[in-house]
Symmetry: C2
DNA sequence: CTGAAAGCGCTTACAG
DNA sequence: CTGAAAGCGCTTACAG
């Protein structure tokens, strides 16, 4: 019985470098060299090999080449944000990062593997992860403390890791992050300049969320610099989600402490707060000014448009990939802090300010 | 000179299945079988192998196993949304999909490679893509027509592809999508029930955007079923972005045709329209009711909360991965349409309706 | 149920 | 500048 139908696919034998070698009239080794751009191959030979490869739609088998050369040619992106029941509530900010990281990888000739596995749960899966990729990029607003010991263990095993987050001493791995402290500082300076005196902070400012903590530090510093005594009753914990922001704002309103501004530790929190204020019939910005952090694309389209701190996701992605590759090549790498930029929009505009433009940093 | 410092890393020899074999006192072949869960291995042997593997932190080398078994163990996710200058303006809806696709892959033991390369540009990169992964999942609200011929070519070369999009005859590949037609139908039915008579449609309803086109078809059908003659002046092209939605709404307002509702082809468009209406001091919903499509997480947090059509991203992701795997295994696969659900929120509520619950479909 | 052996498709010293 | 050959770490008939 002649095989037909489902077996059809087997007839098409895989094109290998030997096929190209034969067609180009060279050895298989030379094909490999030519295709990898080795300087040892004469230009004329290379041309012939390239043409042969093209004509047979040949591409190098990644598995074979990686096996042989002992590099995966792949980086892994691990979202370790604390899981929400609903997958969808991931910070859009990280989606921007995803874009820039992907492009940076492509530019560098690496593939990008992606995973949402919580690093907190399945030790084995993480480890497997570390063997499939040459290195790992960590992304998330999750609880750092629960991850720290794990990170240290992975690092000790030689896994190459860079993380987006708070650039601080004693981080378990190379970290790239924005200048959260000065971001917090400029937001609160701006709110004070607008005449706000009782500024609430929405976000968990504990050691578990070092980025929020840094933003809060900047906030406190700005208050003190203006002779305003911080009031603990004006800080309400929140994770980075609209829902959490909404709840935090509701909490704050229930406390019946007066406040004239909200500085939310992230745009999602700010947008949740906006919804809560709205539901209570409170006018933004005239009764309560609001500012966020991240400058997600939506920030410019909520009502009113949200004052926030822009992080340069493009540069962040480039730098994460660049740092990881240096780590992989055993080059020198250090953690780095990226500049940020205050973006003033209507949600905090009580007085005239040069609109749309960045606020000068102090 | 004894090597030190940077060479340190070479001392740590890679753990292979031979090491496990020795430790467990079996052959390397048995290690492989035990770890892959072959029924040919006695439970007792398996236990011993597992323990040995664990104690040496051994994990199977993916490159080697894939090379041998001739499968990449990897699926690729290709975003082919028409590129924006700024990476960040990708539809959050697809981020939800990304989450569910990732999890579905993990469940099935596949890795997920991700790429934003526009399928329209680099033929070679695409082809390479297709060799690195066992199959490709296509995601995007981009212009289908420009991609069709390319898809057909890839399909003909035996590349396994499934696409998220409009389920229609003559699609170049297996397609999973939601019921856009009935989605459009129920939105417009709902708006009419609320008393709206002149309903604008914001979105490119041409063959280039078949999903929008289907939503528009449903919209027209609902109008006609209620004896309302569609007015071409009330359809304005828009791509799926807030900016484009804002512009479209501005355009619509400039036309000075009266309208009492906007049905936006996506939530991003709707949110842009909301911003435009706002800027013009037009009250939503009482002067103009607004509805979108997708139910992105932000839809519930804009002001007012947005009526929209929910697509089940969880099921969508499962189904995309499942279909692709069937395709890879040469099983029978057909395109499938997923149910959708109208979600009524304040942006379209002119009369009393059972709040928060789904609107009964007609 | 287990082992010995072949071989997946490359890369890279080594030798010329 | 090129070729012959070894070998990366697995999986899987094949034989027992």
């Amino acid at each position: 019985m002649a095989a037909r139908g489902p077996c059809r696919v087997h007839y098409k034998k895989k094109v290998t470098s030997f096929d190209i070698a034969e067609l180009a009239g060279v050895s298989q080794a030379t094909v490999s060299r030519a295709l990898r751009g080795s300087p040892d191959v004469s230009e004329e030979t290379r041309q012939r090999v390239m043409a042969a490869a093209e004509s047979l739609h040949y591409t190098v088998d990644k598995n074979a080449s990686n096996l042989r050369s002992k590099s995966a040619g792949t980086l892994a992106l691990l979202f370790f944000e604390d899981p929400t029941p609903d997958d969808s509530h991931i910070n859009p900010f990280f989606f921007s990062m995803l874009g820039s990281i992907t492009r940076a990888c492509t530019r560098q000739g690496y593939d990008l593997l992606i995973s949402f596995q919580e690093i907190g749960r399945d030790w084995h899966a993480d480890f497997a992860e570390s063997k499939k990729a040459d290195g790992i990029i960590l992304l998330g607003y999750g609880d750092y403390l629960t991850h720290t010991s794990r990170l240290e263990k992975l690092s000790r095993q030689g896994t190459k890791i860079v993380s987006w987050g708070a650039v601080m001493p004693n981080q378990p791995c190379v970290t790239i992050g924005c200048d959260n402290y000065n971001g917090g500082l400029s937001v609160t300076n701006h709110l004070i300049e607008q005449g706000c005196k009782r500024i609430a902070f929405l976000g968990d400012a504990s050691r578990h969320f070092p980025e929020f903590q840094e933003r809060y530090r900047g906030h406190l510093q700005a208050l003190r610099a203006h002779g305003i005594e911080p009031d603990e009753a004006l800080q309400v914990d929140a994770e980075s989600s609209q829902y959490s922001g909404q709840q935090a704002a509701d909490n704050l309103l229930a406390r019946e402490h007066k406040f004239d501004a909200i500085f939310a530790a992230s745009d999602l929190i700010a947008i949740g707060a906006l919804a809560a204020l709205n539901a209570h019939g409170i006018d933004v910005p005239f009764e309560v000014a609001v500012a966020g952090f991240d400058d997600i694309p939506m920030a410019n389209f909520v009502n009113p448009p949200l004052t926030t701190v822009r992080q340069d996701t493009r540069m962040a992605g480039d730098m994460l990939v660049d740092s990881l590759l240096r780590l992989i090549h055993n080059d020198l790498v250090t953690s780095r802090m990226l500049p940020m930029q205050l973006v003033v929009r209507r949600s905090s505009l009580l007085r005239e300010v040069a609109t749309g433009s960045a606020h000068p940093q102090d």
